[in-house]
Structures are given as structure tokens and as C-alpha cells.
């Protein structure tokens, strides 16, 4: 990969891939959705303005994460929310965990998108079981179907979700 990865051709694609996960990552730290959007959009604006000169030694994801994280710290400082600041950037190992959190946000985003591509009934069964945490028996009673049918649907949904997620190289290599 070029060490100057941002350009007019790929910027929109990068923006659309990472905007949602980054907003969710920031929001999980500051619990302010509008603030999160401003932080992420501000980071992208800065990158856009300097796209021709930005050199990236790591990956696009890591660079975006660092940019957004730095702006988040500034935001928290300007809001004088020291407690949040300590929580968010207290230790170096938190840094590593945070980047994993960004990966986690991307997986969540892809799961939600993929769920929409399932048949409505299968989606409902999977969501009730694996998102909302009902047992297979509870789902079966609620939807008035057999427990075996619930298990089969969840199993099939899992296979389809994996197939869908496999298409995204950023999720499953």
C-alpha cells in the first residue's frame, strides 16, 4: 500500500467504511452522539484538507483511529470532563484495547448490515435468540414454532452471516 493512502478516488469509500464505526467508538467513550459525529467529521475534514501530504506508516484504520482519538481527547479536555479523560486515555495498554474496540465496532456494523439481508423471519429468530438473548425454547413459544425450527434457523443464519462477512476483507481475512 502507498504510504500516502488518501486521495480523491478512494476518500469517499474510506469515509463510508469507517465513519459509522468511528462514531460509535467515540460515542462509547463520551456518550454524546452529536459530539461524536462532530469529532469524526472534523477528523475526516482535516485528513481531506491534507490528503496529498499525509504519510501513513501503519494502516489507514490505525491512522484514522489515532486521528479521531486525538480529537476526542481535545473534545473531552475542552469540555473539562477530566474524569472521562482519565477513563479514556489513562494507560498505554488502553490504547491497544481501544483499537480492538474499533475492530469490534466494524464487526457490529457488518453484522447489522448482513442481518438486513436475511429473510425477515430468519432475521427475527436470530435477533431474538442471539441479540436479545432469549433461549431457543422462549423464541419457539413466542413465535409459536418448534424449538427445532428455531435452532435450524439460527444455525442457517449464522452460516449466511459468516458468508456475508467473509466478503469484507476488513472483517474476516
Amino acid at each position: 500500500m502507498s504510504n500516502r493512502p488518501f486521495n480523491d478516488d478512494n476518500f469517499q469509500s474510506i469515509f463510508k467504511t469507517y465513519f459509522g464505526p468511528l462514531c460509535n467508538y467515540v460515542n462509547s467513550n463520551i456518550n454524546d452522539w452529536e459530539g461524536s459525529r462532530e469529532i469524526v467529521q472534523g477528523a475526516f475534514m482535516k485528513i481531506w484538507e491534507n490528503r496529498e501530504s499525509i504519510e501513513v506508516q501503519t494502516t489507514v484504520k490505525t491512522y484514522l483511529y489515532s486521528s479521531v482519538r486525538n480529537r476526542m481527547i481535545d473534545y473531552i479536555r475542552s469540555s473539562k470532563r477530566r474524569e472521562d479523560l482519565n477513563d479514556a486515555v489513562g494507560q498505554e495498554d488502553v490504547y491497544i484495547e481501544d483499537e480492538k474496540e474499533l475492530d469490534s465496532m466494524m464487526i457490529r456494523q457488518e453484522i447489522m448490515k448482513s442481518l438486513d439481508r436475511l429473510k425477515p423471519k430468519m432475521k427475527k429468530i436470530f435477533v431474538l435468540s442471539k441479540v436479545e438473548g432469549l433461549t431457543y425454547g422462549e423464541v419457539a413459544n413466542y413465535l409459536n414454532i418448534s424449538k427445532r425450527s428455531v435452532e435450524d434457523n439460527v444455525a442457517k443464519a449464522l452460516v449466511l452471516l459468516r458468508e456475508d462477512l467473509k466478503k469484507n476483507e476488513l472483517i474476516f481475512a
Binding site: F19, N27, E34, Q41, M45, K156
Partner: protein, 431 residues
């Protein structure tokens, strides 16, 4: 020579016989035949080696053979390890698969790196699935538009800033031959030209201000819910409650925006903060809009209508975006749906349509039979035997005839008896 017994030979080998008749007899026996000597040496070897047997573990050859053959089969896993069913995989991940099947899944997973990655991927999905409840799915297209709008606005700002730079090239300004005092310039430039220049600058500034105002693009925020509802307060003080699977786009700085205009696709309730000079307008998909200054209303999904509005408090006006002259003023409790052409009052039960499509021939037969042949048709009336007509046969016969006239050209006239009619000149209408 004495008879030599086995135990004597054993004692000889062990060195216990050092003298006596038995010892002499054994010596003579060994000398008599080399084969005897060879046998004793072999026995001596066996005795000596037997001493080390206590350090050797006994081997179950059958078990070893079974292990060996199992290893051979493992080199070709397809022959032994079968792929578990999708359901078994799920139950394995749920840790509720019976032990015998569990072993099978584990063998399958360990037999190939691709299989073990399937298990890992499934675990990743299941680990992250519960957290999707709190994940806010973003409309990336809308966010990109919002970003490009903000970017373009900044670009305009940059251009305006650059206009404050000297218009005259630096090289010209620096040229000593052009440098002159204000007094000198005033004598050089005619007065009319100075006024004209001032007017031109004023016009230019006005033009840029006007153009900039025209390009004052609003930055929008987008909020999308999936499986959850969401309450929040906008900066103008209005409260919003979004239903499931709903997207709301609204001006980020709604208080400072020229108009409070929002776009919703889904369900939402709005408790609108009253700002008289700034009506609160919610566009529902691209069909209708709801306008208020201060009230509580909600937009919801109706089984028969894509767009529906209920007014809870105060008064609102719902209107067609394409044709604002089609509107309805709603008071508290009113509920209206939009059928694409007009607003339907949802508080009034819809009329039941009993009409059904019938074959024309069937309708004629029906009329004749149910009027006890008081309705008759003229002979040789032309009609399409496959033609159909939508009609409610539960109506009085005259109403049925009247409805039938919408589909066919014919005359009917009363006969002498009550409810007696004759149909004539029956001709289907062409559409």
C-alpha cells in the same frame, strides 16, 4: 555319569554348582557334544537378559495395532471425519451438544485449518451479536453528503478569505516606478473614476455577500435506529422519540438554521418547542410534510398507508409535498393516512367494499335467475363471454343493473310486474 536334571543345569548356570558328582556329570555332558554346550550358553543368555525385564513395560500389541491403524486413517480425514450439520455446529458453540457428537465436531475442526476458522468466525459473530443492540447504524450516504456539504462550505470560506489578498500583483506594488503618495494618486485619478471604483467595490461586496447567503448550506445530522427506540432533545428544545428501524435527518444546528426542516423515514413522535417565526416541518419520506409551530404529533407506519400522521396535542397541518394545496388541518386526536393522492381519515372506518369481479355472462344469468326471470335479455345480444365486471350482487337488482351499466352499454326497462326488467342492446364498453 549321573542323570542330569533341568534344575541342575539351572544351578550350574547360576554358578551354584562348584563341585561334586553332579558338577562332574555336567562337565562330561557338555564335553560329549557341542550341541549341549550351545544349549547351555543359550539358556545362560536367556537368564541374564531376563534380569532386565522388570524395567520393560508390557506392550498390548492389539491396542498398539488399533492406534497404528487410527493414525493411518487420520492422514486421510475425509475418510473418517464427517462434516457436522449446521445445527450441530450451533449446539457445539452453545456448549449443549452431547459429548459423543461434541468429539466429532472437535475432530472435524482439528482436521483442517479451514474448519477451525469456521468455528472461530462463528464465535466472533456470536460474541458481537448482543452488542449490536447498542450500535447505531449510520446512513453513510447521508453522512457523506453532510460531509461534502460542510467541505464545500469551508471551500467557499477559503475563497472569500483569499479575496482579501491584494488584487494587484505584488511585483507591481513593489515596483518603484508605480509607488506614489496618496496626494499624487489623487491628482492622477479623476474624481468620477474614484466614485465609480467605490461603487464597483460596494457592488462586488454585495454580490459576494448575496451569493454566500445563497450558498449557506445547512449541515445535517442523521440518526438511525434499528432494533431500538431512541429519545433525544434537539438544540431548539424539541423532544424527539424515534421508533424502531427509523432514520431521521435534521439540521445539526436546528436553532440557528433558517428553517426547522426534518426528514423522517419510519416512525417518530415530536414534542415541538414553539418558535413562532420558525415553523417546524417534518417531511415524511418524499410524499407529505407536517408543519407546526408548537405541538405534539407523531408520524407512524400504518398497515394500509406508507405515511400516516397522528396529532396528539395542539394543531398541525399535513400537506402533500408535490401539491401543497392538498392538505388537512388536524386537531388533537386526528389520525390521517396518505394514499398517494389524498388524506384518509383513519378515525372513520373505511367502507367495506363487497364488490367482486364476476364474469358478465354469470351476472346476466344471476340477474335472470334471481329475478325469477323477470329480468330478461334480448336475443342475440353481443358480449364477450370472458369479460368480467366488478359488481356487488347483494344490492337490489336495480342497483346491480345500474352498476352493470358502468361496464356495458345497454338499456333496461321495467316490465309490468314489480322488479321486472328487460335488458336490451347489451354492448360491452371498450377501455
Amino acid at each position: 555319569m549321573l542323570e542330569i536334571k533341568d534344575r541342575d543345569i539351572l544351578k550350574f548356570i547360576d554358578g551354584e554348582l562348584t563341585k561334586g558328582d553332579v558338577k562332574e556329570s555336567i562337565d562330561q555332558w557338555l564335553k560329549a557334544d557341542d550341541e549341549n554346550l550351545s544349549d547351555v550358553q543359550l539358556m545362560k543368555t536367556v537368564v541374564n537378559e531376563s534380569a532386565g525385564l522388570k524395567d520393560i513395560n508390557p506392550v498390548d500389541v492389539d491396542a498398539e495395532w488399533a492406534f497404528f491403524t487410527a493414525n493411518i486413517k487420520n492422514e486421510n480425514p475425509e475418510a473418517v471425519v464427517s462434516e457436522p450439520s449446521e445445527r450441530d455446529l450451533l449446539l457445539y458453540l452453545d456448549k449443549v451438544l452431547p459429548p459423543n457428537k461434541r468429539q466429532g465436531v472437535e475432530s472435524w475442526a482439528s482436521s483442517d485449518i479451514g474448519n477451525s476458522s469456521v468455528i472461530a468466525d462463528f464465535n466472533t459473530i456470536l460474541d458481537h451479536a448482543p452488542a449490536t443492540q447498542s450500535y447505531k447504524l449510520v446512513d453513510s450516504d447521508a453522512e457523506w453528503l453532510s460531509f461534502t456539504s460542510a467541505r464545500d462550505a469551508r471551500s467557499v470560506d477559503t475563497k472569500i478569505v483569499s479575496m482579501s489578498d491584494p488584487v494587484v500583483p505584488t511585483s507591481n506594488r513593489a515596483a518603484p516606478t508605480v509607488t506614489s503618495s496618496a496626494e499624487e494618486r489623487s491628482t492622477i485619478i479623476p474624481i468620477w473614476m474614484r466614485y465609480a471604483s467605490a461603487a464597483a467595490v460596494a457592488l462586488l461586496c454585495g454580490f459576494f455577500l448575496w451569493q454566500n447567503m445563497g450558498n449557506n448550506k445547512v449541515t445535517y445530522s442523521t440518526y438511525a435506529t434499528k432494533f431500538n427506540t431512541h429519545d433525544f432533545q434537539m438544540v431548539d428544545g424539541s423532544y424527539v422519540t424515534l421508533g424502531e428501524n427509523t432514520t431521521l435527518k435534521y439540521p445539526t444546528n436546528i436553532k440557528g438554521a433558517d428553517e426547522r426542516k426534518l426528514y423522517i423515514d419510519g416512525e417518530g413522535q415530536f414534542d415541538v418547542a414553539s418558535i413562532k417565526e420558525k415553523p417546524f416541518i417534518v417531511e415524511v419520506t418524499n410524499e407529505i410534510a407536517v408543519e407546526v409551530t408548537g405541538t405534539i404529533f407523531k408520524v407512524f407506519r400504518h398497515e394500509d398507508f406508507a405515511e400516516a400522521v397522528e396529532n396528539i396535542e395542539g394543531s398541525v397541518r399535513a400537506y402533500s409535498i408535490k401539491n401543497p394545496e392538498i392538505y388537512v388541518d388536524m386537531t388533537a386526536g386526528d389520525r390521517y393516512g396518505w394514499d398517494g393522492e389524498k388524506f384518509i381519515d383513519l378515525n372513520i372506518p373505511a367502507e367495506v367494499d363487497n364488490s367482486v369481479e364476476y364474469n358478465i355472462l354469470y351476472v346476466l344469468d344471476y340477474l335472470m335467475a334471481n329475478s325469477a326471470w323477470r329480468v330478461v335479455s334480448s336475443p342475440n345480444m353481443p358480449f364477450d363471454e370472458e369479460g368480467v365486471v366488478k359488481i356487488d350482487l347483494d344490492q337490489p337488482i336495480e342497483d346491480v343493473l345500474s352498476d352493470l351499466q358502468k361496464r356495458a352499454d345497454f338499456d333496461y326497462f321495467e316490465l309490468d310486474c314489480d322488479n321486472c326488467y328487460q335488458i336490451s342492446r347489451f354492448q360491452e364498453k371498450s377501455y
